[in-house]
Symmetry: D2
């Protein structure tokens, strides 16, 4: 079984749409929980006017009945509230109005130029509408479904900002138990009050300069079952699947697992997490780690320790003080088009990354445990954990 | 069309095997070129005894005739020369001898422990044989086929080490035209002679201490066609596909594209690559970049600039001075099993990464250009480039 | 490149939804053409009341602008006009009303019983809503997009009924050039007036008896490019891909290509189509067939001759004179639930089969020719055909 | 989890190769069982000289240790014993000898002509080697692994010939319990002694005439778990997956499930299998069918009744009295090339079809039950069956 999905939708089109397939029947789902994640995605100091226009709300078009999944494909619709202002420009049919406001000055850093060349278009709007990070709203909605599935198995996923605009935050040790509860209280989703103030000042400054800012986020998944993913085939390794999904977030340029690049600089004796014995724990038999430099993944499989991933996002490509570009029509130097935009989307990026980690984990759990109903899915997981406990404990007694 | 492949094979089994499907008919192939890449993978100061035993050579089992691909699946066989020493332990059938030398002290950092739990095994050898980085030899062979395909379209892929054991190398600007020619001359595949000496000393030191070292590698692909990958769907974005493939290399814990995490720290005005006009170039119309902070990817598509990716590898998990672990049978504290191993595999990792980048690019080219014969594949590519040139030039004249 | 799609939607839910990905940019699309196919699917003597309620109309939610595809995923929405009558029973949230009218007497022949067991449900409505053939409306809409793509390359797909309720129709030789123009004139989509009358009488008779009827349909694709599909891998063989897609239509129990089972009864000398030489034809070089027993497929590839496929459909599973079943609650003998239904859907099945053949062919063309824009896609196809012509003609002159 | 595989290998190349991935760890495997299936594939009255040369034997290259699967990819090698006679013609490298014996007179009915056009080759051997039905030996080996997996869950798959060369066999009611034991005793794998004699005479006659014969086979799977496959998505429907796989067998032109085309001719009341109540059975709760016109599939899912599928195979395309064709070089009329061939391969086709049905069922079981070890896989299946029994029985008592 797999957690499959496709998304569709342009940034100023009628709506974003996603179809998700593979969710077992009987999962309790409510739109409010999805909307909560969509709202979190729109948070963050440094967002522009659009975020105030859109108050994203999901509508179930299929696959959910009486508050439960049916096992059939779940279609989610998120209307673009901005659509009414764009209906003439984005209309599906009727050529008259549409082509009036062509975008011909591609923004460096965005898909505009390459997209126009690849898809043989004359209007960069034909590209930028889909390349926009607005698409991530659909993935956050899909991820909210995945999060619900995982929550039934005790998996909790959170995130926080660890650097923004070049300002690094201190990461508390240990992390707060309820990571998102803590991070969501901060306008920049950071756990370090001093850094928070400096980050906000940096955002104000960048706004004045018409510039944009990037940053880094840490995503943490707790309660992950040991043994998800696999070492046996390159495309089943969970580290690769996570990195592939996360690097597909617009503007993300780096992904690290556990110590990440820091692991590349230390000797092995200061990297690998010793295995220790101790009283049997659920799902991990009698094995313990007291460090987690691996970030919860060894050999492409989950170790049962928290999954810890960091991702780096470049600054937004649309600057209010536009960058030099070329006009596609005249091919003369020009200033890049300015779509209304944010100064930074780093706080939102953590929410997106949480959703994507949830999707990959849900997929890996369905792969391992199968199950067409929630009862079956959970029974299979429980059976695995019980067998792990029984086997490795009794061995220990031998 | 896609460039599909599967690999199989245990580290001390009879052989590694790969099946590749999607290569157009009529591609000139010779085993020597594959063997050259396999030999490069075994190079590097800091490798252990095994590298001297194996002199990997590929055997075409199918899909190649008279020095040309047939369009049918290409099966590649790489015999494990060490097999004769392991035949009793690794025999496919007959239980007698096999289980004599069980591995019960899992190595921290390796797949040993998680694998044994997930797959319900009592002998970690059942896991470690497949989790071993020896599998990458099969992928290097597959990548050598992809490299040949790309070479026909003018794509060249190279790599060099940029840090090893915590010692950073200076990266020359511009990079040498023949990157591998330069890097392969160095025992640690580094372009900075001073760093080279220090790295080798560090390796010697680690060897004496029974420790291991990681490092970072930069992979560069030149001559890449503009417009590979796509912004339209999360699973077609080339940055995600590259990161997913590269993070699946055993021991890789970080992947960066272009400026990578550094891009997260700079303002947008110092990150995005301005678009400039100039005389028309093959395949890029009249558009120019004078910087390449994006590393050749915007919106999940190739820009036509060199693809530049950095990956970070943790130290090898098998230490000659073994780490603390638990014995699976007694569950008492123990020292991890010591398989014969290397001090570092960072120089080899660049070769592996080249192969994987080649595979992803070959797949993206087949996706865009289709083609069952080399003539058709190349004709389609040439037609695209010619149309790009014609269209954007004439526009410029309008 | 592939023509990928997912569908979603329950029969009495809000809507059917499909997302299609892989359509090149620049394909002219209009809703009217899709609606025309949707209307054809609802035609046919023997349909019930539902067909009068629904007048299916597609709404583009994404991927289409100014009457052209953008290259991005195309989301199609078909509202269920019946929804307002079912909103209480099918509501996504709020458990109160929903469960009032449970379906507990599963219909033999339908997914009801197996679905309830597999998905652990107590209400067969949770299954039958998705298992309903209404889902095929979404696939017909997707197929209408595929048909538009194929039409640009000269491929035309039609169908007609060859047997209904046990009455066989004479198939004219040769088939009418405009197959659908002819078939759509008949209330049962048959090309034999005498059989038409008898079929309609049989339908009336079955209706009176509360019974249902099946039948057989022939689908024909003209103008198919030679060399689609491939012999090299089991999952690329076009005969398998066509059969797999067609057997997934609800109620289809048999698929034949060309002579089909009749080919199994004749000697080889009366089956295989001799190859003859003649003046060069577009896309086929100088080779001719004067028979087409193969139905346009040899070795899992298109021969360039018309694709001819027959499919057999069992009678509808919902009988007004219900079949014996068991009540899921009491487990006592009962009569199967009677949802409002048709006497026969064989005429519609041809329309569905056309759509699915279009999807498979569009996928096979994108696989072979790639192309992100219609210009590129068509240029690649034209280049292939021109090369075929040039090569085999010049050889002939040698 | 999925049962994935790829095959490779030319008919007169060195070997056939397959890689299978997804088999849980701990499945007992022995080469003898695979070889038994390979031998069955070579049986059958009417086979030519080649079948005497090849005595196929599988060699495990990976994934199996001490008689058990490891969970890692299983690579299987079947050497072509004929290879030594073909080494000069089929050599992978060195152009000298290879092109001496070009095949330029394509056989009607085979992939020869289309393949040469599609892949831009001058020698039809470059096509026919892979298009040959010899490839099915690799799939039979893969299927033998799938059969072993299924046998652990009580699934048995057999087949018999129901028509050959136009002679129909009577099918006994009920079928013999050990279907293959009965069928394998017959030189033409038929259960009707009178038909057997006539079929053999027909084969002798066809041989004298230089002609070839096709036929029909019935495949039956007993003990199939209820609820495999799914109604929720077109590509998860098991009827489509089975038909797609079976139609990909070279020369198969028709596939029917259960009553098949006969179901299209009867009224619904004489087709659908009434559901009756009775004492609870393992895995089916308290539900019974006394007919199986559906052939074990409703709504794209297994009903728990035997899976019954019929496939029709056209006669072999290589006739000793060759068919008219065109010479590719001269484009003048010619007689088709005669590779050494069989009069009929219908008895073998049943063995191939068994293997493919096993593959599809194994895949569907892994999809539903997941499981990385045999213990886990079987525990999950048992849990499902127990829950089915418990739930529907207690309901019945309510």
């Amino acid at each position: 079984m797999h957690f499959r999905f496709m998304t569709a939708g342009e940034s100023h089109g009628k709506a974003l749409i996603a179809i998700v397939e593979g969710v077992p029947a009987g999962l309790a789902l409510d739109a409010a929980a999805v909307d909560h994640e969509l709202a979190r995605r729109m948070q963050g100091y440094g967002r522009g006017a659009r975020m105030k226009i859109e108050a994203d709300a999901v509508e179930w078009l299929s696959g959910v009945r009486a508050g439960e999944s049916l096992g059939s494909p779940i279609a989610l619709l998120i209307r673009n509230r901005d659509w009414e202002n764009w209906a003439d420009v984005m209309a599906a049919e009727g050529e008259g109005e549409v082509r009036r406001r062509r975008v011909t000055r591609p923004r460096p850093g965005h898909a505009d130029l390459v997209g126009v060349l690849k898809y043989d278009r004359l209007d960069a709007r034909d590209i930028l509408e889909r390349a926009s990070a607005r698409e991530t709203a659909a993935r956050v909605a899909v991820g909210a479904v995945a999060k619900r599935l995982l929550a039934e198995c005790g998996v909790e996923i959170g995130s926080h900002v660890v650097s923004l605009g070049g300002i690094a935050a201190k990461v508390p040790t240990p992390r707060p138990l309820l990571l998102n509860a803590a991070a969501d209280r901060s306008p920049v989703r950071v756990l370090d009050a001093a850094a928070e103030a400096r980050m906000m000042a940096r955002i104000d400054e960048a706004k004045r300069a018409g510039d944009t800012l990037g940053g880094e986020v840490e995503v943490v998944a707790d309660g992950v079952t040991v043994g998800l993913g696999s070492h046996v085939a390159w495309d089943r390794k969970l580290d690769g699947r996570l990195a592939g999904m996360l690097m597909s977030i617009p503007a993300v340029k780096g992904v690290e697992i556990g110590l990440g690049f820091e692991a590349a600089r230390r000797p092995g004796s200061a990297v690998h997490d010793p295995i220790e014995s101790g009283p049997a724990l659920d799902g991990r038999g009698a094995f313990r780690r007291y460090t987690n430099n691996a970030g919860g993944l060894e050999g492409g499989m989950t170790t049962g320790e928290p999954l810890v991933i960091r991702i780096g996002m470049k600054p937004i490509s649309t600057l209010m003080a536009p960058l030099p570009t070329v006009d596609l029509v005249t091919q003369a130097p020009a200033q890049a088009q300015s779509e209304r935009s944010d100064v930074t989307a780093v706080p939102a990026m953590g929410v997106i990354a949480e959703a994507l980690v949830a999707i990959v984990l849900a997929d890996a759990m369905l792969e391992k445990f199968g199950g067409d109903s929630m009862a079956e899915f959970k029974r299979n997981q429980a059976g695995y954990l019980a067998a792990l406990g029984a086997r490795w404990t009794s061995l220990g007694e031998g």
